[in-house]
């Protein structure tokens, strides 16, 4: 069974304080590692897909990287508007995504 574990569960940063979120996974036949952002009271919003080890993608202050066992979401010089829950998911067989429980990020002034 596909499994996704995210750490830490919660992270509090000062504005400008860079950090990384971790997503460890086990899957039989990876068909994509996905990062989503979820704001309170809203549905998850797609950020990145990574397909193979060594791949990296960037968007503004976010950079996602992938190895054979884990993915990192690096946040450089975060701002308060980056506060959200970040969800990681793996695509296995069929059209199914298996999600982790997320990292709740709060960026303070």
């Amino acid at each position: 069974e596909d499994q996704v574990t995210q750490s830490p569960e919660a992270l509090r940063l000062q504005e400008g304080e860079s950090s990384s979120l971790n997503c460890s996974y086990t899957v039989s036949g990876l068909r994509g590692l996905f990062w989503y952002r979820q704001d309170p009271g809203k549905g998850p919003e797609f950020l990145f897909t990574l397909y193979s080890a060594g791949e990296e993608k960037e968007k503004e202050r976010l950079k996602a990287t992938l190895t054979k066992k884990e993915s990192f979401l690096h946040i450089t010089a975060p701002k308060p508007e980056d506060s959200a829950t970040y969800l990681c998911a793996v695509g296995g067989g069929g059209n199914k995504l298996t999600f982790g429980t997320g990292t709740q990020l709060k960026v303070e002034l």
């Binding site: 989503y36 549905g43 998850p44 797609f46 998911a89 069929g94 995504l97 429980t101």
Partner: protein, 114 residues
Amino acid sequence: DTAVSQTPKYLVTQMGNDKSIKCEQNLGHDTMYWYKQDSKKFLKIMFSYNNKELIINETVPNRFSPKSPDKAHLNLHINSLELGDSAVYFCASSQPGQGAKVLTFGAGSRLTVL
């Protein structure tokens, strides 16, 4: 606006009642999903339909019955509601192909069973 829209956003009901949540997408996607998010933020797939055909049916009590009248709509009917059904239910859609699992989610429907 192009989106996945679901109604109602909030639903409060008594145990034993029957309720429905409706979902519509105008993105032209072929595949639609229902996910359940519990109090610990864990998102778990319940059902998936591709062009009105059921393709994923996870271990969900048969009190939950999805219906897809056309590929733009996917509704969820829940019979005999139980306390444990309280959660946020998300509808999502995607296109097939390599990008099949890039899901576009609705805003969620928070179900509270008293």
